[in-house]
Amino acid sequence: MTKFVDKKLVDDFLDRLIRIEEEPIYMTGAQETERRKKIYQALLDTCEKNS
């Protein structure tokens, strides 16, 4: 890691990320773009919560 990043923040984001990745595509019908939108939002939420 090149920069110091709060570990709690990373853990929080990883939790959200894995939950999104675990959702079976054939169950939700989510496409790749939709999944990435969710991850982007999760990242944004994590950072906003911290600020």
Binding site: K3, L17, I18, Y40
Partner: protein, 675 residues
């Protein structure tokens, strides 16, 4: 997870309701399914895959035709497969049904408690939680393609297998998503500083590299698909070549049998001569039994009465009369009383010729009596010889017929053609691999260049307060990405070492020489001589042995990982190992040693074997481990003609696997358990 029962209804050749019970005994954990080619071994494997995932192997031709031909003839369009299995002490059932005519399909899962079926929500998710789809192909495995794992140019297959069993897919997908979002954030940064000309230039460079890499990655994906296609074609031709090469061996065997048949027929002709000689020389002994016995009686009677062979010789009496001197020395005259008395003796006297004849007849009759005792035995011996010779001739003729059937359409002249096709494919594979290497290098170099431009852009924009939020997001994203990469790399390394160690353990007890394996960082699977560490130029059999050892190690590795999951990795799975024709390329010694280690590779092992695969040594090695056993029998409505009977030896029993002139065309399952 353990399979308990599979129930089939009109699934391909399994017309009607059929079922197989699998062994769930922890000691006798092997279920043995015997079947000849085309009867339904591969169909059974695919029935499981179809039921669980609506998936089939590449070997399963026309996968859209699920309903049995016989059922269709009878206007039945429904088929189904139900699998009942145990998991963590509970019994479940999953059932997939299809109505081919109405294109209607259902898939349901149930928990079975005290005979009641309780429907579960979302059967797909449930099955996925028991054996994830990507892991399934290593549990339900087509053994005939096993050697492809360890053949050259197939690193991707090994890598995919390890990553599937490691449950890396979530982490890999997350990494790909994060990289995509990272680029999006970088672009946001570039777009946010539209007034900065220099930043715009940097962003343009980044966009160009992105576009170039997008095209390159598409090209890479195409090339990989092409490579997979070539490898698959090569495997198919290699298989066909092996069959053709096998045909050559069968041809040689057939020639040998024909030579044996010729010799046996010559020997039979000699026995026939022996029989003729017996008729000439010995048969009258039997035929004249009555006459010789009467003669013997007559002679004995005559001898008793001193009528035979006659007491005074006829010639001697004549000489006495001519000499007119009695044997006592007294003289007598021709017409004297003495001469008359001596002349009377002629009545009972015999000539030398008659005496000799009597001796000869007596001796002949004695010989006839002896012949009566020996000729029966000698005739029996000739008949026995003829009978065993006929049996040998019959067996050899059957073997020749079997060879002719096996030869089928395999033309020996195709060998060179097929070998040439393989050589051409090898060159094409090498060329595609070279192109893939080139593309990967360009992508890597582009990515390095991309990082440089990114750093420049970042430096340029680092004082832009408007971008602080994006920078924060990027920091968290990059830290998460780095964490995932390190975790994945550690797990890959751990799994590589663990699988290698298990493969080595298996090679130690199975391989003829001392070998050890290697799986390098690029997942190149190889076998080495233990003493010199040189890479072994593997035969087909050794390739298959190494691949089977690899599959067994993966399955064991997955079982060891049960409960060891973390956020990134799917938990390991304990599942049955079902192997279709696992002994194809192995010689009898390797077959035996593989049969020894397979039962220990999983809690439940299901082996689908043909006659050649289930050779005596294999069955002996599995003895004591078989909990359930069944045979698939083909019933056909056609006449037998010259087709072989397909008899398999199961223990002391011989079972006919092809029944002709049957009522229906179908495969039936006959359980051999408890026979």
């Amino acid at each position: 997870m353990q399979l308990k029962t599979i129930k089939l209804l009109n699934f391909r050749q399994f017309y009607g309701n059929q079922k197989i019970d699998f062994s769930t005994d922890s000691e006798k954990n092997v279920t043995l399914i015997h079947a000849e080619n085309g009867v339904g071994k591969t169909t059974l494997l695919n029935a499981l895959l179809w039921c669980f995932y609506k998936d089939t192997t590449t070997k399963f031709e026309l996968p859209e035709n699920i309903v049995s031909e016989q059922a269709i003839k009878e206007n039945k369009t429904n088929a189904s497969v139900e699998v009942i299995f145990l998991d963590k002490g509970k019994t479940y059932s999953v059932i997939r049904k299809i109505d081919q005519e109405n294109h209607h399909e259902t898939f349901e899962a149930f928990k079975i408690e005290t005979g009641n079926y309780e429907k579960l929500q979302s059967a797909d998710v449930f099955v996925e939680s028991i054996i994830p789809r990507e892991m399934s192909k290593y549990f339900f495995f087509d053994g005939e393609y096993a050697e492809t794992f360890s053949s050259s140019n197939n690193r991707r297959a090994v890598q995919t297998a390890v990553e599937s069993m490691l449950g890396c897919n979530i982490a890999l997908q997350a990494l790909e998503d994060l990289e995509n979002i990272r680029k999006k954030l970088k672009k946001e940064m570039g777009d946010a500083s539209k007034n900065d000309q220099q930043a715009k230039i940097y962003q343009k460079k980044l966009d160009d590299i992105d576009d170039a890499n997008f095209i390159l990655k598409q090209d890479l994906s195409d090339k990989n698909k092409k490579l997979d296609g070539k490898i698959s074609t090569k495997e198919k031709i290699s298989k066909s070549l092996r069959e053709t090469a096998g045909a050559k061996e069968i041809q040689i065997q057939k020639d040998e049998y024909e030579q044996v048949l010729k010799r046996l027929k010559n020997e039979r002709a000699n026995i026939e001569i022996e029989e003729t000689n017996w008729i000439y020389n010995d048969s009258f002994g039997l035929l004249s039994k009555k006459i010789s016995s009467d003669c013997s009686e007559f002679i004995e009677d005559a001898k008793t009465k001193k009528l035979l062979p006659g007491n005074i010789a006829y010639d001697f009496i004549n000489k006495t009369l001519e000499s007119e001197i009695c044997i006592c020395g007294r003289k007598f005259s021709k017409n004297s009383q003495e001469a008359i008395e001596i002349s009377k003796l002629k009545k009972d006297a015999t000539t030398q010729l008659r005496h000799d004849r009597f001796i000869a007849i007596n001796s002949r009759i004695s010989r006839l009596a002896d012949l009566q005792n020996t000729s029966v035995d000698s005739y029996k011996s000739i008949i026995d010889k003829l009978s065993s010779q006929d049996e040998l001739i019959g067996t050899t003729e059957l073997k020749i017929l079997d060879c002719k059937t096996k030869l089928g359409g395999n033309e020996i002249r195709d060998i060179a053609e097929k070998q040439n096709a393989i050589n051409v494919l090898d060159e094409e594979i090498a060329e595609i691999n070279m192109l893939i290497g080139g593309i990967k290098q360009t992508i890597t170099s582009n990515e390095e260049e991309y990082s440089d431009w990114e750093r420049k852009l970042e430096k340029r924009l680092k004082h832009d307060k408007n971008l602080d939020n994006v920078r924060d997001m990027l920091s968290v994203l990059e830290a998460s990405k780095e964490f995932l990469e390190i975790e994945l790399s550690n797990y890959r390394e751990e799994s590589r070492i663990s699988i290698k160690s298990q493969v080595d353990d298996i090679l130690k007890i199975t391989a003829r020489r001392n070998y050890h394996s290697s799986i390098d960082e690029t997942f190149n699977l190889n076998m080495h001589y233990s003493d010199t560490d040189q890479v072994v130029a593997k035969s087909n059999g050794e390739n298959q042995l190494l691949s089977l050892a690899f599959i067994a190690s993966l399955v064991r590795f997955s079982a060891d990982r049960r409960g060891q999951s973390n956020k990134l990795l799917k938990p390991g799975t304990m599942a049955p190992l079902m192997l279709d024709s696992p002994f194809g390329q192995l010689d009898p010694t390797y077959q035996e040693s593989t049969a020894n280690f397979l039962p220990n590779s999983s809690g439940q092992v299901i082996l689908l074997l043909s006659k050649t695969q289930g050779a005596k040594k294999v069955l002996d090695a599995l003895n004591g481990k078989i909990g359930e056993e069944c045979v698939l029998i083909s019933e056909v409505t056609a006449e037998r003609g010259e087709k072989p009977l397909d008899i398999i030896d199961v223990g002391s029993e011989k079972i006919t696997c092809s029944i002709y002139e049957a009522e229906k065309d179908r495969t039936i399952i006959r359980s051999l358990t408890g026979r």
